[in-house]
Symmetry: C2
Subunit: 308 residues, 2 copies
């Protein structure tokens, strides 16, 4: 774990404090509420081309920075509590990550709850990976990435692919993952007053829409309860102020218990998905380290051979 200087002095700039949560809010209200969270993500990285793409039965987009090498691909699952978000809502963040990692990113528009509850998102995520393989991309050149619920989806998809006997990607990267629908991390309570973005109430509501009666401890919904044997190397970044902090640390423990190479970094004084806020020095550090992880996991073997 790494610690960074406290940055409480910058917190007013991040202020997104929630109004009292109304459990009878409509799904439209919820989506409107969540949408504000992405408003501060800033502009899409310059020099990045965005191309719509049909991934099997679902839509999605390629995010292609000028720096992209031919082979390296990030399969990115956006967050939004499984009820909101899209490739577009997360485009600015993904474009910065892709640029830093010199990689193309494929961003599937997986189906959302409550219209399409669990396991629709998981099926779409696994299908997107299979589709990538049919395009001639090899697993060794793919890294999964995601934020929030998309971070949980990274691990749920890895569990499903491993159980299906498919070759796994070269690495898994998560920003502030939500991997436990039972919301049992102690930070859920300890950071209640510190988290401007998420709350137990909001996450419990998302979980209800996504699960629609499925068990919250089902590993394909809450990969924290899955068995991590056979997973590729993992990097997880979270903020010390967020209610999901312990999802990051417990994922780390879970992976380490299965002898998986895992790196959890908790950024002191940082809120949920601070990487979305481009002006923060911590965002730049996190993205730089994430990009280094992606590059290290997907060395350009062809280029290296050519140089020999």
């Amino acid at each position: 774990m790494m610690n960074w200087p406290r940055t409480f002095s910058r917190r007013p700039a991040l202020a997104r404090r929630q109004a009292a949560f109304d459990p009878s809010a409509s799904i439209e209200d919820l989506r409107e509420h969540i949408k504000h969270f992405w408003a501060g993500f800033g502009p899409v990285q310059t020099g990045v081309d965005v191309q719509p793409v049909l991934i099997s039965a679902i839509r999605g987009e390629w995010v292609v920075p000028e720096s992209a090498t031919g082979r390296r691909v990030i399969l990115y699952f956006h967050g939004g509590g499984f009820i909101a978000g899209s490739p577009e809502s997360h485009r600015a963040l993904i474009s910065r990550l892709a640029h830093a990692a010199s990689a193309r990113a494929l961003v599937p528009q997986y189906r959302l709850a409550p219209e399409f509850p669990y396991p629709a998102a998981l099926r779409d995520a696994a299908d997107a990976y299979r589709w990538l393989l049919t395009q001639g991309i090899t697993p060794a050149n793919i890294v999964f990435a995601g934020d929030g619920s998309g971070g949980g989806l990274v691990f749920a998809t890895l569990l499903a692919l491993r159980n299906a006997g498919l070759p796994l990607p070269a690495g898994a990267l998560c920003f502030s993952p939500w991997a436990d629908m039972t919301l049992s991390g102690w930070s859920m309570l300890k950071n209640k007053a510190n988290d401007d973005a998420l709350s137990w109430e909001l996450l419990a509501t998302c979980a209800r829409h996504y699960l629609k009666g499925a068990s919250p401890a089902e590993p394909f919904a809450s990969p924290l309860y899955g068995d991590f044997r056979g997973m590729p190397p993992i990097m997880i970044h979270a903020g010390s102020l967020e209610v999901l902090k312990d999802d990051a640390s417990r994922l780390g423990e879970r992976a380490a218990a299965a002898n998986i190479n895992v790196n959890v970094e908790v950024y002191e004084g940082m809120p949920h998905l601070f990487q979305g806020l481009p002006e923060l020095p911590e965002s730049k550090v996190s993205l730089t380290r994430a990009a280094a992880f992606i590059k290290a996991r997907t060395p350009d073997v062809a280029l290296r051979r050519a140089a020999q």
Copy 2:
């Protein structure tokens, strides 16, 4: 399900509203906090004799009303979130139930967390049942009963005894059971403003002390995730205002799915464990119906034979 007239007009008399919950409260503070809940339970039923007893390795007490028939026994597990409570704290409530059911009640002082985390309480509860059998009491004359966490313990113990191949008691009775350490019932959020006694914060803290790292979806900790096949008939009473309301209804669904005879009664306008408040008409109704269930499950076969 039965519905009773709303009794909001009586709510001020039940007022036990909590102060803002402090997640760093010491265990002593928590116990002090919880203790106030039992202050309104009123006096012990007149004509009830209380006898201390050593149950295998733990202490406990017999609560023996004058009305008790020789054979019928309630094995009662008190509530308190697995971190508080005792035979003494619940004596008034248990004495009224025992009196109404014409039954002796055995109340084990099972070990509490965090000093003795999961599964200590479960072991003590199962041991108390085994001890009863060694005293010559037959399973057909025993009904399990409990409230809150003790209600969850009723089902966890039944799961453990069934899996061990032991004969099960004749019935299971619960007041406001807590059967889900993942706190995933929708009422946890919907009744947040209505529940004067319990909250997600308090229960999450109790769960943390009890589980000490065990999975919150482990069936022996959260029997809602267990398989109810082979259970005896079940009666569950809860209040419509409590955050645990959906633990009651989901237990009912779980039992019904296993073809178990189950009766869930939600008392409209009632708070958590309203049976503790002797002046409420609903308390009298609930206790009368609970007693009728206990009697029906444990007919005095010897007496009936003698009358033939």
